[in-house]
């Protein structure tokens, strides 16, 4: 992986608050143009890590490099950050509010006005442009805040729980928008504890728990590495194969199919061959990929 392919590089970062270690010796890389799932239970250290990336706090140890350089004010203007704790000025008008956040990111007012119109239209909020923020519903203000993170056209977008508080229709709408942004070669860090959403959106994931890295890599590879030992089968007959303890350790019976847990060195192809050989009628034979949720729970529980 070449250096300019990497948007963000976190190296051996540790952050302590008094006796409490929020992040311990964390290292990872995010490749440009990918959606990176930053996963972990509440209190794992996600927000602390993100705060260090956006330069709100400084790591006690280790270093963070953004677009191949140290974090400087100029570099920070290339990040869009949607924090988990949403906040807008309640009494400000929608347009003024967006202008202000754009100005804080160094966008000229002329350019900002153009982008504000574009994004209000895209997020279906145009008619609210001159209204006060208090008049907006919760979902609308969330979309407004999302716009505020996009106005300076960031190359790296950090979304901390972007769907919380949105209704299902708006969640789908936001996913569409995020997919669109991804297609423009932007890097997206997507922090969540909702595995189902992460599973659908992310290319790569990093799972942290209790301040430490648990798992990282491409989502497909991780799932593949976890999925090789479980098979979903629907068949009639073949009991002697299923009862062979050298092949199968455990069976969970569902209504009309079975989940087979294979032994360490059993090969699924051998199981299929033996089943057919025994004269069983096989109507379904499928390798099961564990859901991200299972992997998450599995990893978090162990610790």
């Amino acid at each position: 992986m070449s250096e300019n392919n990497v948007s963000l590089k976190v190296e051996n970062v540790t952050k302590r608050y008094g006796d409490f270690t929020a992040v311990e010796n964390l290292s990872f890389e995010i490749r440009a143009g990918r959606v990176f799932g930053f996963l972990g239970p509440n209190g794992a250290g996600k927000t602390t890590t993100i705060r260090m990336i956006v330069g709100i706090t400084i790591p006690d140890e280790g270093k963070i490099r953004l677009f191949g350089s140290k974090i400087t004010p100029q570099i920070r203007d290339r990040i869009g950050y949607l924090p988990e704790e949403r906040g807008l000025y309640k009494k400000m008008k929608v347009q003024d509010q967006l202008r202000y956040f754009a100005a804080l990111k160094g966008v000229s007012q002329k350019e900002a006005d153009k982008r504000i119109d574009f994004w209000l239209d895209r997020m279906k909020l145009s008619e609210w442009k001159l209204k006060k923020t208090t008049d907006l519903s919760k979902g609308m203000s969330q979309k407004l805040q999302f716009i505020s993170t996009m106005l300076h056209n960031p190359e790296l977008l950090i979304l901390d729980e972007p769907f919380s508080g949105l209704d299902p229709v708006n969640v789908e709408f936001m996913k569409e928008v995020i997919a669109e942004i991804k297609s423009q070669d932007k890097t997206i860090i997507f922090s969540t504890h909702l595995m189902e959403t992460a599973e659908k959106l992310c290319d790569d994931i990093l799972l942290i728990n209790k301040s430490q890295k648990v798992l990282s890599g491409s989502l497909r590879e991780i799932k593949a590495s976890y999925g090789k030992n479980v098979i979903s089968v629907r068949c009639e007959g073949g009991e002697e194969v299923l009862n062979d303890e050298t092949l199968i350790t455990n069976i969970i019976e569902h209504a009309d199919e079975k989940e087979l847990f294979l032994t360490e060195d059993a090969d699924s192809q051998v199981v299929l061959k033996r089943l057919i050989g025994s004269g069983a009628k096989v109507t379904k034979f499928e390798m099961i990929e564990p859901s991200l949720n299972d992997i998450f729970i599995d990893n978090v529980k162990e610790k």
């Binding site: 705060r51 956006v54 330069g55 709100i56 706090t57 004010p73 920070r76 203007d77 990040i79 950050y81 924090p83 704790e85 949403r86 906040g87 807008l88 000025y89 309640k90 400000m92 202000y100 956040f101 100005a103 804080l104 990111k105 160094g106 505020s148 993170t149």
Partner: protein, 450 residues
């Protein structure tokens, strides 16, 4: 710098473009001008005259009473009474009094009536008849023996509720009767006046070098200025605190801190709100100056003697300098408190100490005005926290040596730098601490750590 300006612009607009600001800024001078202009109009309106008949059975009172009620006499009397209370009348007071007197005196129209031979019943009957014919508004019956102990002076009036007329009449009658009694006892009024004259007690203020100082109404100016500074500092300090608490409570600070340096954010806020305060003060002071000139112009036109309060350009400049010093001291303290607390209620409790400091400063002003050159006045007028209120008062009462003013400015600048240093440290940690109020030991740690 660009981001600092963005913050400054927003904060300034946020304060200035609100109804509350526009109303207080422009309505206050308007209300004040109403208080100056409306009385002028009212005093120029002539009321209906009270037609009064004097049924003088003694025969000697009527002439004296009419004389006492003449505009000239009333005005002279009012002036004398005021001189006894105040050492120095200012122009507008004098002007007002003169108008008052003219109006009062011009308010009586005497209807001739000869009562000497008539009985009281007859007088009442005849005059009541005149009143019912609307030829008369009131009459007064003066008994034959004015010196008798049970002598009663009866006043009948359709306008008996007009207490101003009643008391004017009573005073004039008292005096007329007294003069008559003196005349009866062979004591001339001039003699009595000469004997009962008050001593002339003339206060001449001295400067430190022993020269007689010209005094120009600066005493009350000093108090107004002290109050003005106190109110503006308290109001804008609280405004800073609530703005900071809002950002903390709504978590806007999280986004802000990812976009700009905490120091830029804090200073942008302080300077922006400060400029808004300066705008308001400038408008107020300009309108006060305009009002004063209007008031005095009208006074000059009516020929009154003028003593303008001596306000020099340097006084105005010092006023703004010390206002700014005070603003930055107290705004920084409020910013510090705002970033420590979690909501406005908590902020309200913690707002007490700076208000206390301001109040103490205000009370010191009383002592300083009484003796602007005392050692005490020197120390409190250069002390941090107090100087921004006390020094302008001292400058107005009696301008201190320049080195003292300079010393006060330097000491308070140093205080501001120190406070800003502390506040910015607390701000950048405190703004990201949610849900829990920071304790003093914690805050102390933040200050030392970063």
């Amino acid at each position: 710098m660009q981001k600092f300006l963005a913050v400054l612009k927003r904060e300034y607009k946020k304060v200035v473009f609100t109804w509350a600001f526009l109303i207080t800024t422009f309505l206050m001078p308007l209300i004040a001008s109403v208080f100056v202009i409306v009385p002028m109009f009212i005093f120029s309106i002539e009321g209906d005259k009270t037609r009064i008949a004097i049924a003088d059975k003694a025969g000697s009172i009527s002439k004296r009473l009419q004389e006492n009620l003449s505009p000239k006499r009333i005005s002279e009397k009012a002036r004398k009474a005021a001189k006894e209370q105040l050492t120095d009348l200012n122009a507008s007071q004098e002007e007002k009094m003169k108008r008052n007197a003219e109006q009062l005196g011009g308010n009586f129209e005497f209807v001739p009536y000869n009562a000497e031979t008539k009985s009281i019943e007859q007088i009442k009957k005849e005059l009541n008849a005149q009143i019912s014919e609307k030829k008369l508004d009131a009459y007064i019956i003066i008994p034959k023996d004015i010196s008798a102990k049970d002598a009663r002076f009866e006043y009948y009036s359709r306008k008996a509720g007009d207490f101003v007329i009643n008391s004017t009449l009573q005073d004039a009658l008292n005096e007329a009767v007294r003069s008559q009694r003196l005349a009866d006892a062979d004591i001339s009024e001039e003699k009595l006046k000469e004997l009962s004259r008050k001593v002339a007690f003339d206060v001449k203020p001295l400067t430190e070098t022993g020269e007689i100082k010209e005094e120009g109404g600066s005493f009350w100016m000093a108090f107004i200025v002290a109050m003005l500074i106190y109110i503006v500092l308290a109001v804008y300090g609280q405004a800073i605190m609530s703005a900071i608490v809002e950002e903390k409570e709504t978590r806007i600070s999280e986004v802000l801190f990812s976009s700009a340096k905490p120091f830029e954010l804090m200073m942008g806020k302080l300077v922006g709100v400060g400029l808004a305060g300066l705008t308001q003060l400038a408008i107020w002071i300009a309108s006060v100056l305009i009002l004063l000139s209007f008031g005095f112009v009208s006074a000059i036109m009516s020929g009154a003697e003028i003593t303008l309060p001596k306000i020099t350009a340097s006084m105005v400049i010092y006023f703004f300098i010390f206002f700014l010093l005070g603003y930055f001291i107290y705004a920084t303290i409020y910013a510090l408190i705002g970033s420590m607390v979690t909501n406005m209620q908590e902020g309200g409790q913690f707002a007490f100490p700076p208000i206390m400091l301001l109040l103490i400063g205000l009370y010191f002003c009383f002592a300083v005005v009484r003796d602007p050159n005392s050692t005490f006045a020197f120390w409190v007028s250069i002390a941090p926290f107090f100087a921004p209120i006390v020094m302008p008062v001292r400058i107005l009462s009696e301008i201190p040596p320049f080195w003292q003013i300079a010393l006060a400015i330097i000491i308070n600048l140093v205080a501001i730098i120190g406070l800003t240093w502390v506040a910015s440290r607390v701000y950048r940690v405190g703004m990201l601490m949610y849900g829990k109020r920071a304790t003093i030991p914690e805050v102390w740690k933040w200050i030392r750590q970063s």
